[in-house]
């Protein structure tokens, strides 16, 4: 692979990265974070700058063993360093996507990407004090927020409590220390289930509890809480907070796009836009309904819920997914796979159509 040219900082900034147009990213760095966690850094093929909310996710469109699989990953990168984005992925036993990324994603490889998207961000909730709670690779959106707050010197009081299986499993351990050095209002703590091989480990042991939390952040009730981790972990966090009389209006959690920490074998099914988010896509013949939140395409939303729709290129080229739209409005960016007269007759290509309203398809 030819080395990328150095940028000319005298020139105007490159344009913003546009999902849908610049839909391909190139892997430019693979970094080992722990023994089973890697960070994959991506750059746009054209000079582009990324702009997103810290905490948002992107959707990778992958072909694995002949199957089209879409997976959402929260970005671990920060928009304050806008020339690249990164995801941080933990290997999961029997996890087809995480293992595939670990085994096959290399520098120089390209990947199709949708997004960024999502509402899980402290930048949508301006408060003086935050509590970030994460477990396993759920650390990534909170790391993105922490990096952004630090880079921008926003002087928000952050306490970051990360749970891991053992000290060897703590992701971004040294960077958390660096954040604490660089940002006087940032504090971090680690809770490990066990010390493992690390005889020197002197941090918190066991699981997050009200007692531990009260030790680390006695003022946690004043803080806006952002939680990301496996479902059992988040359920435990909610229970602790509710039991402590915490105002759950100040509680936010990310419900997808991480891989299980607590020994769960299966990866969570991706996005399935949260109830209430996006639009309803109804399939008249099958009676199926899916939620689709822009910029997700109708095909991606349907596939994410396990529906099987005939499709191939996913780029609006081949027309394999062509479907009559009985009602609704979409933003379709096709690439020649459909004729204007077909569009005039009400046909769309779900693979490149993002809903602008609820949609009913003749399928």
């Amino acid at each position: 692979m030819a080395a990328a040219p150095l940028p000319d900082f005298n020139m105007a900034e490159p344009a913003l990265w546009q999902p849908g147009t610049d839909d391909t990213l190139e892997c430019v760095l693979v970094r080992d974070e722990t023994h089973d966690v890697k960070t994959f850094v991506f750059r746009s093929q054209q000079p582009r700058r990324f702009r997103y909310l810290p905490g948002q996710f992107i959707t990778l469109e992958l072909e694995i063993n002949g199957a089209a699989i879409n997976r959402c990953y929260t970005l671990s990168s920060t928009p304050t360093r806008p020339d690249t984005v990164s995801i941080t992925v933990k290997r999961v036993p029997n996890g087809p996507v995480s293992n595939w990324l670990h085994d096959h994603m290399q520098v120089g490889q390209t990947v199709k990407v949708l997004g960024p998207s999502g509402e899980f961000s402290c930048f949508l909730h301006d408060r003086p004090k935050y509590l970030f709670l994460s477990a396993g690779s759920g650390i990534t959106p909170l790391m993105s927020m922490s990096r952004a707050l630090t880079d921008l010197v926003l002087d928000r009081d952050v306490v970051f409590v990360h749970s891991a299986r053992s000290p060897a499993d703590v992701i971004f351990a040294r960077e958390q220390q660096a954040l604490a050095r660089n940002n006087p209002s940032f504090r971090h703590a680690v809770i490990c289930e066990r010390a493992g091989a690390d005889r020197d480990y002197a941090g918190y042991q066991g699981f997050l509890s009200l007692a531990t939390l009260s030790n680390i952040a006695p003022d946690f009730r004043e803080r806006e809480v952002f939680t990301c981790g496996p479902a059992p972990y988040m359920a435990a966090v909610r229970k602790i907070l509710e039991a402590a009389g915490f105002n759950m209006q100040q509680y936010h959690e990310e419900s997808f796009a991480f891989e299980t920490l607590m020994g769960g074998a299966e990866e969570a099914q991706p996005p399935a836009a949260a109830a209430g988010e996006g639009y309803t896509i109804r399939f008249a013949k099958s009676g199926d309904e899916v939620r689709c939140a822009p910029p997700q395409t109708i095909l991606a939303a349907a596939k994410a819920t396990g529906m099987r729709l005939a499709s191939s290129c996913t780029q609006g080229l081949c027309g394999t997914c062509k479907t009559k739209m009985l009602s609704g409005q979409v933003d379709m960016k096709h690439a020649g796979g459909i004729r204007q007269r077909e569009i005039d007759q009400g046909f769309i290509l779900p693979c490149c159509s993002v809903p602008l309203s609820d949609v009913v398809l003749d399928r």
Partner: protein, 421 residues
């Protein structure tokens, strides 16, 4: 191909010898009509190396419209691209060979193989092929192109790598004749395919003479002058011929003054891309090949004000004939299916704004050629049954009414001889 395993009634024959000994003015030896080996040579050399007629511009009126045609074992796809250009491709996916378009006609965005969705644009470039890996170079897997020429709205293809160059002369000569009828501004009112149980050369020979017309085509001969396709002169015919020739001279002068070239051009066996044309008077009202010779469509073609412009006839070697009138066009494609079966495709074209049931009644428009096709089919099939008999011997063509048959056969023998040594 020096010695072909052709058999006639159990005895081996040599195609080169058969070609060499063909007697001018006589019909062909039986194996030319009946043998599989000659048929294969016909498909390889006649239909594989010459310009053949396949359809009309209104077959593909809009970008994305396509038609398919089968030439022997070669499925061909004709499509109009997004720039309005009409292109021909081998209808064969570069992946594992599946036909891209199975229907006879349709409309596409891009060309997508139904098997594994390899996707080509309408210029034949491979745009998308899944699962082929990083080293796969789509630019090395374009669709196979086929030469296509559009002669004033008539579409001809050539499957040879280097097509006969003299087709340019055909196009240059014929364009002024055909262009006034504005084929591109028509639509296909009806298309009929019939399969004749006979060899394609019998179909063509039958088309190239009207010796059989009086005895077989009561509908067609309503509008045809008896003198227009040759006759053996006798004292009784002299007066009729004189009046017919005078009328042709007078009509030709009138039509030429209207910008309608009319004079006969005959290159049927003097060019590789053999053809013939002439604008011919029609009898009675002189308007159209209908049962009453009146126009079948009230919306005339182009901007014709006068419907009585006779019929411009155009014949091409090896596989077409056409009649252009003031109100409609009838066009015929002949495509060999095997040595014993031949597809005859007839299309009736009318002004694209003409409304069926208002400007024209389709049954009225097609009545003459529906009847004539059925009659010709019987003639060809009876001939085919006869030439298979050991009793068949090549017979003499009429030097008056079968000169164009002789030109067809002569062209065919010469063209095949150019490749069979």
């Amino acid at each position: 191909m020096s010695s072909s395993p052709i058999h006639l009634h159990g005895k081996p024959l040599n195609l080169a010898d058969m070609l060499a000994r063909r007697q001018q003015g006589y019909s062909l030896e039986a194996p030319f009509y009946t043998s599989r080996e000659v048929f294969d040579a016909d498909m390889e050399h006649i239909f594989g190396k010459h310009w053949i007629y396949v359809g009309v511009e209104p077959d593909v009126p809009e970008p994305g419209d396509y038609v398919t045609v089968q030439v022997g074992e070669k499925p061909i796809l004709i499509v109009r691209d997004d720039d309005g250009e009409i292109r021909a491709f081998h209808n064969v996916c570069r992946h594992r060979g599946s036909r891209l378009c199975a229907d006879e006609r349709g409309a596409v965005g891009n060309l997508v193989c139904p098997y594994h969705q390899w996707t080509y644009n309408l210029q034949g470039q491979l745009l998308f092929a899944e699962h082929m890996g990083a080293d796969f170079d789509p630019s090395k897997h374009r669709l196979g192109t086929v030469h296509l020429k559009n002669v004033a709205g008539l579409l001809f293809i050539c499957l040879a790598d280097e097509p006969p160059a003299d087709f340019e002369e055909l196009a240059a000569t014929m364009t002024p004749y055909i262009a006034p009828h504005q084929v591109a501004n028509t639509k296909i009112a009806k298309q009929i395919d019939i399969i004749e149980q006979g060899n394609w050369k019998l179909t063509m020979e039958n088309n190239r003479e009207c010796y059989h017309c009086t005895g077989n085509h009561p509908e067609l001969t309503i509008s045809l002058y008896a003198y227009s396709y040759g006759f053996a002169p006798t004292p009784e015919t002299d007066e009729g011929v004189r009046r017919y020739d005078a009328m042709v001279a007078e009509r030709h002068a009138k039509w030429e003054s209207m910008g309608l070239p009319s004079a006969e051009v005959d290159r049927l066996d003097s060019m590789i891309s053999g053809f013939r044309t002439q604008r011919m008077p029609l009898d009675k009202t002189g308007e159209s090949q209908t049962l009453n010779t009146r126009r079948a469509c009230n919306r005339l073609l182009a901007n014709f004000e006068d419907g009585a412009i006779g019929g411009l006839s155009f014949w091409t070697q090896p596989n077409s004939w056409h009649h252009f009138m003031g109100d409609h066009i009838v066009t015929f494609m002949v495509m060999p299916l095997d040595q014993d079966r031949t597809l005859v495709r007839t299309k009736w074209l009318v002004h694209k704004d003409a409304v069926e049931g208002v400007d024209y009644q389709i049954d009225n428009m097609t009545a003459v050629w529906d009847a004539t096709n059925a009659q010709d089919r019987r003639l060809v099939e009876e001939s085919h049954l006869g030439v298979k008999s050991p009793a068949y011997r090549p017979g003499p063509y009429s030097p008056y009414t079968e000169t164009l048959v002789e030109k067809f056969s002569n062209w065919y023998i010469n063209r095949l001889s150019a490749y069979i040594k």
